[in-house]
Amino acid sequence: MKKITQLMASAAFLGATAVNATELEVTHWWTSGGEAAAVAEFAKAFDATGNTWVDGAIAGSGGTARPIIISRILGGDPMGATQLNHGRQAEELIEAGLMTDLTELAEAQGWKDLVNPPSLLDACTFEGRIYCVPVNIHSGQWIWLSHGAFEKAGLSVPANWDEFVAAAPKLQEAGITPLAMGQQGWQQNLAFGTITIAIAGVDAWREVSVNRNADTAAGPEYTAVFEAVANARELAKGSNVQDWNLATNLVITDQAGGQIMGDWAQGEFQVAGQVAGQDYTCLPGLGVNEVLDTGGDAFYFPVIDDADTKAAQMALASTLIAPETQVAFNLKKGSLPVRGDIDMSAANDCMQKGLQILADGNVLPSGDMNLTADTQTQIEDLMAEFWSSEMSASDAQARYVDIIASAE
């Protein structure tokens, strides 16, 4: 009896809120200072459409937040919208019919023509239908160099990876760790991926990561990669930090020469009041192959059987990709916008480099789009072990080949 009245009360309550502006709970894992400021831009734009953004930030990285988000969707308690990295992470959720189809909206607004690079939208497409809105582009192929550290060692700032490696002994003599590296698998994996593209080149990388060709992974290009990574491991000896931003801090405070990290590191330099090109230099693709992958974030909308909610979801979807929101959000986030037709002249030196590469079309699909989470975890485990042990380059390569050969 009591249960029933409770149920009725809550139903009445739900009904009451639905009459007002629709509240949409949005989950994401943008919790650091710059990220939170960027999300606030989304919330502001969405609230302006007459709906209400209910912030569902989940602290911790994507690795922490993703299982929570997925289990909520699977457990029948879906949120109104959620951040995920586009790619294969949501594939099975879409297959199970748990994600809202956005194809009609996308066609009405012509997303196909305005999203640049088009691979972003492809990653949102499953069997010809569109299921997510890309909101930004993040790329991992950057090395961040400290001007101060190189000055201390009496060197000029290197222009590419080879010069960096050549400068390393001098840095060590000056008591500077050449390469800052957070001791976490994903960071070591990111460095590996970046070095791969620089050393093996785009074709070999594509053959392995996209076509999953184990023969190429066993070939001479990748042997060179693993030797370079083994060398990088020596350069990173002595940087005993865990989190990526602590490693970035080593670069900011001139204790380390450089760090291989994604463009989100830029936020740290900005917070520290450093100026690109003056206090630090960024080299996309390690200055060797100026290509960027186009990973990033996208929003998915779980299926909720309610007309008002659905309308609010569509409103949010079109807000996220609107030109004004894109500019406001990406300037704060330090990421690149997903559309090529907007004015980003306010962006700094490093972002301009990124925009230029995008405009030239030198882009690669990101790891999330090519390999399943399972395969990526295996590679990450391998890299975590490789970087923290004395494993030889050839052993690591042999095991990498096994993983690629068994990848789906």
Binding site: L93, T372, A373, S388
Partner: protein
């Protein structure tokens, strides 16, 4: 309390205590204590459905190639083959074995020694008991973080010893792949021995004073009395302690996550962490299920000797 204990005691006591059924012609098997049996039905159902059912479901799906969602496409032993050829799993098992072996021995030895010392009717027993038991009130996450700081070379033990003048002192287990598991072991022991000590102490208090008097009359030393007389008498207490420690060992997860998160590299990974990682982060349920089935197997291997000791032992005693 004492009534119910007597109710389950050996046969001869029964006629005095059990209520005879009103109808003397009816056999007194199934219907005796009806209300108690009815009351336990929900728990029995929960156990059957949640534990047994869930276990069977997990084992069945460990033979499939389920990824993010469970699907019934059987692949035979593929998941197990992959599991046992994965280095991370082998390291996890090795770590669990090291941690388990030392944790078992040291927890029992330290726990019993502390309990025996407290049992000597020392002054301030309450204070010591509280101090030793206190770490157990902390969660593993807090324990892990606290010991991460204590073992941090720049802040913790190493720094303190160096600042006392021993400049070359090096103690940095959490950043050394070869000994990182011992760093976790220290934290685990610090957290866990208090509880075992209290259980041992309760067992020691249960030993009849007469036995001590008899031992003293016979001129047997204190230590010898403990080892030869008291410990054999405390067998049930030891069995309980053993099961508690063993289950704690197998499910170790949060301590590692908080203290090292499996690092450096994958040097301090443990099986439970493998299961969680592969089920949720790698979105490979089949692999996670296969790993958890292997963990279940190890629990069963521990459980069977225990059941034998506990239930097989009663008959003899």
């Amino acid at each position: 309390m004492s009534d119910s204990e007597m109710g389950s005691s050996p046969e001869p006591a029964e006629p005095f205590l059990s209520v005879r059924p009103k109808n003397p012609g009816k056999p007194s098997g199934l219907l005796r204590n009806m209300s108690a049996k009815l009351a336990s039905i929900p728990m029995i159902l929960t156990t059957m459905v949640v534990f047994v059912g869930g276990t069977i479901w997990t084992v069945v799906y460990s033979f499939t190639s389920s990824k993010l969602l469970p699907k019934l496409n059987f692949v035979g032993l593929d998941q197990y083959e992959r599991l046992w050829s994965t280095r991370r799993w082998l390291i996890s098992i090795e770590n669990l074995a090291i941690y388990g072996f030392f944790s078992m021995i040291f927890t029992l030895v330290i726990g019993f020694t502390l309990a025996a010392l407290l049992d000597r009717k020392i002054r301030g027993e309450n204070i010591f008991r509280t101090i030793f038991l206190y770490p157990f009130a902390l969660s593993f996450v807090v324990t892990g973080l606290a010991w991460q700081w204590i073992l941090n070379p720049d802040l913790g033990v190493q720094n303190v010893v160096r600042s006392m003048g021993w400049e070359s002192f090096t103690f940095n287990p959490l950043n050394d792949p070869d000994i990182v598991i011992y760093g976790i072991l220290i934290a685990g022991l610090w957290q866990g021995t208090g509880l075992i000590m209290v259980i041992m102490l309760a067992g020691l208090r249960g030993i009849d004073e007469e036995i001590w008097k008899a031992a003293r009359v016979d001129g047997i030393g204190t230590v010898k009395t403990y080892i030869r007389i008291v410990i054999p008498m405390m067998r049930p207490v030891f069995v309980t302690a053993l099961v508690l420690i063993a289950s704690g060992i197998i499910k170790i997860y949060d301590l590692v996550v908080a203290q090292t998160n499996g690092g450096p590299g994958i040097a301090s990974e443990v099986p439970a962490k493998y299961v969680i990682n592969y089920m949720f982060r790698a979105q490979n349920l089949g692999q996670g299920f296969a790993a958890s089935t292997m963990m279940l197997l190890s629990v069963i291997i521990i459980l069977i000797p225990w059941a034998y000791l506990e239930f097989g032992g009663k008959k003899r005693g």
